[in-house]
């Protein structure tokens, strides 16, 4: 019988307690354990960025963390961006409007990378955006529309002076 470890994690404001095997990846815990399938798994070795979630406010690869390691942490996944489902998060709205997505497989990872980035850097230039997005792969859009989406969201956010 393999070891089981008790964990308590807050995800999108809701607290979950479980007993998990140490080898369970956080990405699998979110998807299979909790049914939060918005977090996507592309490569499972840290390269594609699709599995990015926020752990205590920072963008992190969920395929390179074990669920036991986030015991006591507060997480946000893509499901937490538009909790009611009625209205898109401003960043999601910007992706929608600029065609920043096609198949959408990569989109949750981009969003969860960008939310904390725009908090730290509300007025990024093209080079900063490109450097940041180097950690996320998209096989459809060619990236230009994604860069447009980031700029649109950043501009609106500055104009409205509200936190997206």
């Amino acid at each position: 019988m393999s070891q089981l470890v008790d964990i308590t994690i807050t995800i999108n404001g809701k607290t979950h307690s479980d007993s998990v095997e140490p080898r369970l990846l956080l990405s699998d815990y979110l998807r299979h354990g909790l049914g939060l399938t918005g977090t996507h798994v592309g490569c499972e070795h840290g390269v594609c960025g699709a599995c990015t979630v926020m752990v205590d406010g920072e963008a992190i690869r969920s395929c390179l963390l074990f669920a036991v390691q986030v015991d006591g942490c507060a997480l946000t996944t893509v499901e937490g961006l538009a909790p009611t489902g009625d209205e898109l998060h401003p960043l999601q709205a910007a992706f929608h409007e600029t065609h920043g997505l096609q198949c959408g497989f990569c989109t949750p990872g981009f969003l969860m990378t960008l939310v904390p980035f725009l908090d730290h850097n509300p007025d990024p230039d093209d080079d900063e955006i490109r450097a940041l997005l180097s950690g996320n792969l998209c096989r459809c859009t060619g990236y230009l529309k994604i860069i447009e989406a980031v700029k649109l969201a950043a501009t609106r956010r500055r104009e409205q002076r509200v936190k997206p």
């Binding site: 393999s2 140490p22 390179l64 990378t113 450097a131």
Partner: protein, 298 residues
């Protein structure tokens, strides 16, 4: 792929962690940021039976340029300091600008948020930035075990491909970067296929000049052209004691790209192309470093 089963321990303090390493030695594997170890476990290239998660050892997460006993104004960084914290630290930017300049090249933000200084050094990838930089800066590594601690020069720490001088029961707990001399200059340049990828070739240079503008000391360390960071001493010797000129720099760079390295060929670059890059990047880096040290290179 999923990792094979393992036993998980999460010590709260360093002594507990060292106790576990003393008991289990080779069987235990340290889990720091996990950004190199977990991919290897996902592929089952690594199948440790016991994982010692040191992420709760807050005592190993620090950046300190103050004066204390062993510290002549040098910069001390704890092994569990996240790469992103080093990148954003004004203390590091001031006391070790070479580290500051190179940090954005280490992987991507999401990985630097989690990856640690100690993990990058212990992993000892010949294409990684931090190992080369610490050799260029003449840094020292502090290894600790239950039996005590020892300091290792960065140049003795890296012993081969993914290999270090650490013993199985030892943990890398911190590094010390000596205080910068007056009139010093640095440069870091790498060529990679994509921002954040491991370098095809990279070079770290640290120089000091005397009051007349002659080169007093130089370190040229190349990445991704051998099984560990390559300290190009013959190239550095060409500029040492000389007034830095375009000609002298060109001669040093030619040596860095030929006799001193034995680069491999892979899908990204042939051995010859790596030699070419080593030469070109060394030349640019030396010029930048001398310019930063206040010398006009003509």
């Amino acid at each position: 792929m999923k990792p094979a089963p393992f036993e998980y321990r999460r010590p709260e303090i360093l002594d507990q962690a060292l106790e576990i390493l003393a008991e289990y030695g080779d069987e235990a594997k340290i889990l720091a940021g996990g950004q190199s170890l977990v991919p290897a476990m996902n592929f089952r290239l690594a199948q440790p039976s016991l994982l010692v998660d040191i992420n709760r050892l807050d005592e190993l997460a620090y950046i300190d340029a103050g004066d204390n006993e062993s510290n002549d104004g040098g910069l001390h960084i704890g092994a569990m300091t996240r790469q992103r914290a080093v990148e954003c630290s004004s203390v590091v930017a001031e006391s070790a600008p070479l580290i500051h300049q190179a940090m954005p090249y280490v992987a991507h933000v999401q990985i630097r948020n989690r990856g640690t200084v100690g993990g990058s050094l212990a992993h000892a990838d010949p294409a990684a930035e931090l190992p080369a930089i610490l050799v260029a800066l003449d840094a020292r590594m502090r290894a600790q075990s239950k039996a005590g601690q020892r300091w290792l020069a960065a140049s003795d720490f890296f012993t081969g491909l993914f290999a270090t001088a650490l013993r199985p029961e030892e943990m890398l707990v911190g590094i010390e970067v000596p205080r910068l001399a007056d009139r010093s200059g640095h440069a870091f340049i790498e060529f990679a296929r994509r921002h954040g990828d491991y370098a095809v070739v990279g070079v770290a240079v640290q120089v000091t000049v005397d009051s007349s503008g002659r080169c007093h000391s130089a370190r040229v360390v190349l990445m991704s052209v051998g099984d560990r960071p390559i300290d190009a001493q013959a190239a550095a010797a060409v500029v040492s004691g000389q007034k830095p000129s375009v000609e002298v720099i060109r001669e040093a760079a030619a040596i860095a790209g030929s006799d001193e390295i034995d680069p491999h060929s892979d899908v990204h670059a042939s051995s010859d192309y790596r030699r070419h890059l080593a030469r070109v990047l060394t030349s640019r880096a030396l010029e930048q470093a001398f310019t930063r040290a206040g010398v006009r290179v003509e």
